[in-house]
């Protein structure tokens, strides 16, 4: 039966381990379910795969542009520690745990469709890269907890936990997601969910009568900032230049090494400017990729939803909510970054020395994506104040949670980086601690029990809260609607007055 193992191994490692192919396969299945022609199936699947690869290419450009900034910030602020990067930790673990994670991924995806089909939790999680990261984290923690000889126990428990996480997190976030989108068409499928729920709850608590970020009227001369390409590049150039100039003042010529290819101060500053622009380029490429593959994936998903899991909702990556609050994304990103710095300070001064936790440095990428998402959720329930404090709380969470997870992962021998998003932090710490008990059987039972508890809680939440139609932030929405109506009235009155004077 060696050939079967080889084939399964090939499919697991070379096909199902590559998110781009996974997306292409899902699109193909969806289009086949929709009874499209062979040409449309091939075209759609290929376009989705290409879109995903474009996204990856853009992510590469963003990461390359952020890298020198990380070193420079480190040098001028003197902070040392770990920058949590999902891609890095996944790559580090792939050699040893890649096969286990591929099995977890493939079986977990099928199991998710089963749970979505037969429980009230009819969400289908489609964020390919987060599936891969979660499968890898579970493979690492369970393999070490259960030992290498228990591969199938690792795979089955891991697949169950992965499937559970993929349906329960969109369910928990769904009332807030409905407030953000204003309808019930998509769910959020991203393992930063705890941060978004926290932002939504904080927004509701602080921002009943805070104006929406989207009603911020930029002066006419600043309306060019509404173009996301322009705004992203400009803000990143400013951040880069601030740290470059700070670096020159604090370090003198020693700062040059942080911008490769800088021989003098002028080149150093211009390289910093170029890196800021390249960040904007990367984000534009990412958005183009997202657009290309979502344009194929979402319609195709409806094919699966209608046939395999009737009435299911697509749970999608966090940028899906960005268009609902473009100003909130920027505000959330900045305040999340500030939250990350504050928690870093707490780690450095208290938690680090007291409990031996690592210093978690703020990575721009997780702060941009999850902070931006938290800003949108905070704005939806609590306007400007909600976006600001929601982003801040998210920043605290994605610094303290990776610090705890790093501790757990380092204790099983994997150090250097860790997973950055909030849900990896709390879930990984829980699972990691429970499988580290001496008995494999007890560890497996504990891990499964955590999954079952989450599943039961989510089903109760779905039936008692989501399906009953509770949507948070009612009072804030009323306030925003009143504000907008008043603004419209005022505009009308102004136009009428202008007409009168003309006449």
């Amino acid at each position: 039966m060696d050939w079967l193992v080889v084939v399964l191994d090939f499919i697991g490692k070379q096909i199902l381990n590559v998110p781009a192919y996974l997306v292409g396969i899902i699109v193909a299945i969806g289009l086949i379910a929709l009874k499209k022609s062979a040409g449309q199936v091939i075209g759609g699947a290929l376009k989705a795969t290409l879109g995903f690869l474009i996204l990856n290419a853009g992510a590469g450009v963003v990461v390359a542009a952020l890298d020198p900034l990380g070193g420079l910030v480190l040098a001028v602020t003197g902070a040392e520690g770990v920058v949590p990067t999902n891609e890095v930790i996944t790559a580090m673990a792939a050699d040893q745990f890649g096969a286990a994670s591929a099995y977890i991924l493939a079986i977990g995806f099928v199991l998710m469709l089963v749970i979505a089909r037969f429980t009230p939790l009819s969400y289908v999680f489609l964020t390919g890269h987060h599936m891969v990261f979660m499968a890898m984290m579970l493979a690492v923690l369970l393999s070490i907890g259960f030992g290498d000889q228990n591969l199938w126990l690792t795979v089955l428990v891991g697949a169950f936990l992965l499937a559970v996480m993929m349906v329960v997190m969109p369910a928990f976030a769904h009332p807030w997601t409905k407030r953000v989108t204003g309808n019930d068409t998509v769910a959020i499928g991203h393992f930063g969910t705890v941060g978004y729920i926290a932002a939504g709850a904080v927004g509701q608590a602080v921002g009943k009568h805070s104006k929406s970020t989207e009603d911020i009227k930029f002066p006419k001369g600043l309306s060019f900032l509404r173009d996301s390409m322009v705004a992203t590049a400009l803000s990143m150039v400013l951040i880069y230049l601030v740290f470059a100039i700070w670096g020159l003042i604090a370090l003198g010529p020693d700062a040059y090494q942080y911008m490769p290819g800088s021989e003098d101060g002028g080149a150093f500053i211009m390289n910093a400017l170029m890196q800021g622009l390249m960040f904007g380029v990367g984000v534009s490429i990412i958005l183009y990729g997202v657009r290309t593959f979502l344009g194929e994936l979402i319609p195709a998903f409806q094919g699966i939803a209608k046939k395999v899991v009737p009435g299911a909702k697509a749970a999608l990556d966090v940028p899906i909510v960005f268009p609902y609050g473009q100003n909130a994304v920027l505000i959330g990103f900045i305040s999340s970054f500030v939250g990350g710095l504050v928690m870093l300070l707490v780690l450095a001064l208290w938690l680090g020395p007291a409990f031996g936790l690592a210093l978690i440095l703020p990575g721009m990428v997780p702060h941009f994506f999850t902070g931006g998402g938290a800003g949108v959720y905070g704005n939806a329930t609590g306007g400007r104040r909600g976006a600001m404090l929601g982003g801040f709380v998210n920043g605290l969470l994605i610094t303290i949670l990776p610090a705890i997870l790093y501790q757990v992962m380092a204790s099983v021998g994997l150090s250097g980086s860790t997973f950055g998003d909030a849900d990896f932090g709390w879930f990984g710490s829980l699972i990691g601690l429970s499988v580290q008990v001496d008995s494999t059987a007890v560890g497996a039972v504990l891990a499964i029990a955590i999954g079952v508890v989450l599943l039961v809680l989510a089903i109760l939440w779905q039936v008692r809260v989501v399906d009953k139609g509770w949507v948070p932030g009612e009072e804030h929405q009323k306030f925003v609607d009143e504000q907008r109506a008043a603004a419209k009235e005022a505009e009308k009155a102004a136009v009428a007055a202008a007409k009168k004077t003309q006449a």
Partner: protein, 91 residues
């Protein structure tokens, strides 16, 4: 026939709009290629398209383009999308 669906980022709402336009074309028995676009790339993409569909707030930012632009108030309202599409195609 090529139709461009435009929103601010070209990710969320324009994909919804694209799906509804696809559905509307289907209902009308028409063949067409619908593409989602963001405000930055829409102007370029519009040059090769027959029709642009977007929201009221984004029309101004599109600026002067030769392609006819149709304003849709509610992207997820299938009936409105179909009605506006028919107007735009002068059916």
């Amino acid at each position: 026939m090529k139709i461009i669906a435009v929103c601010g980022m070209g990710i969320g709402t324009s994909v919804l709009l694209k799906m509804n336009i696809d559905q509307a074309l289907d209902n009308l028995g028409l063949e067409g290629d619908v593409e989602a676009a963001d405000i930055s790339s829409a102007r370029g993409a519009a040059a090769s398209a027959d029709l642009v569909m977007t929201s009221a707030e984004l029309v101004e930012q599109l600026g002067d383009i030769d392609t006819p632009v149709i304003v849709v108030d509610n992207f997820v309202d299938q009936a409105e999308v179909q009605e506006k599409l028919q107007q735009g195609l002068e059916l």
